[in-house]
Amino acid sequence: MNQPARIALLLSTMALTVGLILEGLWLLLFVVAAIGSFGWISARRGWESIWLFLQLALAALSGIPFLLALLASVLGLATWDLAAHGRLLQSVDNGFELEALKTSHYRSVALALASGSLLAVIAIGIPLRLSFVAAVLLTLLAVAGIAGLAGRASSASS
């Protein structure tokens, strides 16, 4: 597990912890501690996807303040990405133009996370008065978009 991923993992766990303390959900701290420890092990062994799933579930469902939940999920995503990328680099002995590869990767990650966080903050900060039906339609539209992305991913990899 590389250093940036380790830092991101620690920060995301801390964000969740602070959120839980603020909400007074003391019992959930054990869960956070367990998920943090699991993340430490999993990122090294290639189970970081399971850890990201647990981290996001906790951030979304624990009811902690939105900004802390957003911070925890963004850092969780960064951990997931950096751990996998570090392992990819370690798996290959013979690299070429690795600096260019790393630079473009880190730049893309930073851009994706920053833009995603900004969008989320704007989405929550600007109150939209939507009916339930409109919300369902918007969600369906989003789901169709996600399915399209997943379909493209699977066709490209085959």
Binding site: F66, V92, F96, I146
Partner: protein, 429 residues
């Protein structure tokens, strides 16, 4: 699960939970994930166009040699932020130094070269393609493709240099060679005397013998040395070469066949090769370097195998060999083969059997097993019985203890005796 699929699932789940709880904050947590996915999608390289040039340092080597491999990749299309290159290594070859895989970023019109070396194992190996995986910088959307290459390497079996194999051929050819033809004429070894006739060289007149006769001169005759027609039969049946743990002694048979054919061809003999196993691989008899290459090619691709048709030696097509030609049978020899070899001998073929000693190889593999000593003794008894059974009909068998070099065993058992030993009439075995 692919990375993009996993992220899509998470984003979908957050949206669904947000909708179910009627909580926009939960749904908003999916936005970083969607942003990540969208950025990956936007940066996916469109139609990579690569040019590949691949080479091997040598196209024909001996088993165990180290061979260099180069793959040059040039990007003739858009820049590829993440590219994984893997040279497809044929089965049976191992990397000696370097790596077949390379990862990096390839700019437009840039080139990259992979170089590594392999340790060669016997066979004909084709490097038929180079695999590529191009993806966006985040590694989400991957495009896998390969480019064909045509590189083939022939790895010939390793050879041991043999000095001479003392055969007793019944029939010799017309060309000069190394084997005594049992006929008088020019040569080295004394054969006998005959009356002088006009045209004979005076220097061959035996004056001592001529002095005993008043009206007749006698001249010395020598044994002619001629080339021999030799058929090498390699037993490639799995069951006769089987060792403990599914291993095979076949590679020793191949080494023996390669070394013997090399020697016989160097001595100007006419050599043919038959590999009898999963199928019949017949190399028509011939002379010289070209024949050597044909035989090496056949031995390089030889594999031990099983076939119902060729399961027993009695189906070996002996008519392919010239009548009374010398046969070299290379096989560990199982008991049921003895009958076939006897029949072959009865048909007039002089036979030399070379048997890689499976017992030694097996004993090494089974070291520490209980009752191993007893099993070895029983196997040795069987081996001696087979050797005696063959010797009884005039078939000589060389049992090659594989812990010893082949040339040493051949030299000791069927090699030419040293000159001083021949001078005193000893065989030196």
């Amino acid at each position: 699960m692919k990375r993009a699929g996993f992220l899509s699932f998470l984003a979908f789940a957050l949206l669904a939970i947000g909708l179910a709880l009627r909580d926009g904050r939960v749904a908003a947590l999916s936005l970083p994930l969607l942003s990540y996915l969208a950025l990956g999608l936007l940066q996916t390289p469109d139609r990579p166009h690569l040019e590949v040039e691949a080479n091997l340092a040598q196209s024909s080597v001996t088993e165990g040699s180290i061979v260099g491999v180069w793959v040059q990749v040039r990007n003739a299309g858009p820049a590829l932020p993440q590219l994984r290159i893997q040279d497809h290594l044929p089965a049976g070859l191992t990397v000696h130094d370097g790596s077949t895989v390379s990862l990096g970023s390839l700019a437009r019109r840039a080139s990259h070269q992979i170089s590594y070396s392999i340790r060669s194992t016997r066979g004909i190996h084709s490097f038929d393609r180079v695999d590529f995986v191009a993806s966006d910088p985040l590694g989400l959307f991957q495009q896998s493709f390969h480019m064909p290459t045509s590189r083939t390497i022939l790895v010939r079996p390793s050879l041991r240099r043999l000095r001479h194999v003392d055969l007793q051929p019944l029939r010799t050819g017309v060309h000069a060679g190394m084997y005594r033809a049992r006929r008088g004429g020019p040569g080295v070894e004394f054969h006998g005397l005959r009356p002088y006739v006009a045209g004979d060289a005076r220097r061959w007149i035996n004056w001592k013998a001529s002095a005993r006769h008043r009206d007749q001169l006698f001249i010395n005759e020598f044994e002619q040395e001629r080339a021999v027609a030799i058929g090498i039969i390699v037993d490639a049946r799995s069951r006769s070469n089987l060792l403990a743990g599914g291993r095979s002694s076949f590679s020793y048979s191949v080494q023996a066949a390669a070394s013997l054919s090399e020697l016989f061809l160097a001595q100007a003999n006419r050599v043919g090769l038959m590999i009898y196993g999963s199928h019949l691989d017949w190399t028509v008899p011939g002379y010289g370097r070209l024949q050597r290459e044909r035989i090496m090619l056949a031995l390089a691709r030889a594999r031990a195998g099983h076939s119902r048709i060729f399961d027993r030696m009695k189906y070996l097509p002996t008519r392919l060999f010239a009548p009374r030609s010398q046969l070299i049978f290379i096989s560990p020899v199982i008991t049921e083969d003895v009958g076939f070899l006897r029949i072959l001998r009865a048909r007039g073929y002089p036979i030399l059997v070379v048997s890689p000693d499976r017992i030694t190889a097996e004993a090494e593999l089974l070291d520490g097993e209980p009752d191993l000593g007893l099993a070895i003794r029983l196997a040795r008894i069987e081996q001696v019985l087979i050797t005696r059974g063959l010797a009884h009909v005039g078939i000589q068998r060389v049992v090659w203890d594989i812990s010893q070099p082949l040339e040493q065993v051949i030299e000791a058992q069927v090699g030419r005796p040293r000159r001083w030993m021949r001078a005193v009439g000893a065989r030196g075995r």
